[in-house]
């Protein structure tokens, strides 16, 4: 597969990082085209006219958005270091938990006041389910990092930032000891540890984002 690989991404986006991790794990050479999500370039509109978001993988000129869709494509195209398990049932489970993590844990961050209390419930519940899934395993993929580790891989680094910015505590080491241990292991492993955004950038990005989001809801009639 000698065709050119480009990743249009952003250092603030956890969705972008999970794609980078997958490419690095597979040893795929790629060009990273850095976007600022608050100031989108024409490139994003060209390669993702439907959702106008990053990340977008461009392989041999053919674009592909949606990070979980991209992960599966990477896994099917570059066979080294498989991400998804072979067994169809296990594959279905990995897909299920990846989707779940994306949908639930994110909500608690943007909520405020009473809404936050309400959103914390499902967020904590989702961490509890992940805790059950990881118990007894080093990684969600077993001995090696797999699809679900990449999908949930934002938790170790980003969740901590979201907790600080959003004034909430979710990943409590006492409540979720296995998940906490997984988080510690995950960010130590290559290529993850060499490919993590600077924390202060994330803090200022999410802080600005939260102020903006809260101002939107404050201005609603």
């Amino acid at each position: 597969m000698g065709e050119e690989v480009k990743l249009i991404g952003s250092i603030q986006s956890l969705f972008s990082f999970r794609v980078e991790w997958a490419l690095k794990l597979k040893g795929v050479e790629y060009e990273f085209i850095k976007e600022d999500v608050r100031n989108k370039s024409p490139l994003i509109f060209k390669y993702n006219p439907i959702h106008k978001k990053i990340p977008v993988l461009v392989h041999g000129g053919k674009p592909l958005p949606e990070s979980l869709v991209i992960l599966e494509y990477i896994d099917e195209t570059w066979k080294d270091c498989p991400l998804l398990p072979e067994d169809p049932y296990e594959r279905a489970m990995a897909r299920f938990w990846a989707k779940y993590a994306d949908e639930k844990v994110w909500q608690a961050y943007v909520a405020e006041g009473e809404e936050k209390e309400k959103a914390m419930g499902p967020a904590l519940e989702s961490l509890a389910f992940l805790e059950k899934e990881i118990k007894g395993k080093k990684f969600f993929g077993g001995e090696k990092i797999g699809f679900l580790d990449l999908a949930v891989g934002w938790v170790p680094h980003w969740l901590n930032v979201l907790e600080e910015v959003g004034s909430m505590k979710l990943l409590d080491a006492e409540k979720f000891p296995s998940l906490h241990e997984w988080a510690e292991n995950f960010i130590q492993i290559s290529p993850i540890k060499e490919c993590i955004p600077p924390r202060d950038e994330l803090v200022s990005y999410f802080h600005a984002g939260l102020i903006y989001l809260r101002s939107l809801s404050a201005n609603k009639p």
Partner: protein
């Protein structure tokens, strides 16, 4: 039952219908169990503790949840008959992308049409038509979304077609007038036994929506 398959479903659900189509495409026998969503069975709560929703496929006692994930599972296990996803990785990714697009857009917009009035409803109608036109564009001149054969994206979208009558009735508009090629595609899909035997009757769906609106106090 040779393949030991149980489907927990609720008859009006366009998500459950996707699974029925996939099972029919693969010629599989299964036990169908209708759930009362106001009184969920212990089996449903046990098999889908996370979302407590239908559809749930139970294969050899193990549950699989989320309709798109179930359809992919069925396609992978019974891969020798009527493949729903293409074999080329880029085309597979495209199919997953469009199925995800249907999931992100159509249900919520449709729901807004029969639960709101005035400006909100107009906005939802406009947006739904916009999305259906985008899908129509993606279909192009092909008989089905992936080309000559009925596939994954067709399964994801066609189940909404039995809800179109309800959307049109309560939104007071015609989807066919706006998206004739898409409606032609739904009729093409309905010629397949797997689709016609899996979709609910649009009039029954409309009657169901009337009951829901009464229940929610929507005039």
């Amino acid at each position: 039952m040779a393949d030991d398959i149980i489907l927990l479903d609720f008859w009006p659900s366009m998500f459950g219908m996707r699974v029925k189509i996939a099972l029919a495409e693969k010629d599989l026998k299964y036990e169908y169990r209708e759930e009362d969503l106001r009184n969920k069975s212990p089996l449903l709560l046990e098999m889908n503790p996370v979302h407590k929703k239908i559809p749930v496929l139970i294969h050899h006692g193990k549950p699989i949840c989320e309709s798109q994930i179930i359809v992919e599972y069925i396609d992978e296990v019974w891969k020798d008959k009527s493949p729903l996803l293409p074999s080329d990785p880029y085309e597979r990714a495209q199919a997953r992308f469009w199925a995800d697009y249907v999931d992100k857009k159509i249900f919520e917009l449709g729901r807004k049409i029969w639960t709101t009035k005035g400006e909100d409803q107009e906005a939802a109608k406009k947006e739904l038509i916009g999305c259906l036109k985008i899908l129509e564009g993606e279909l192009g001149e092909k008989p089905f979304f992936s080309g000559e054969n009925f596939g994954f994206v067709d399964v994801s979208l066609v189940t909404f077609s039995c809800w179109f009558y309800a959307y049109e009735r309560f939104g007071n508009f015609s989807i066919e007038a706006e998206c004739p090629k898409l409606i032609a595609w739904t009729k093409r899909c309905m010629q397949k036994e797997s689709v016609s035997s899996s979709l609910a009757d649009p009039f029954k769906i409309c009657g169901f929506v009337v009951l829901l609106r009464k229940k929610f106090g929507i005039e």
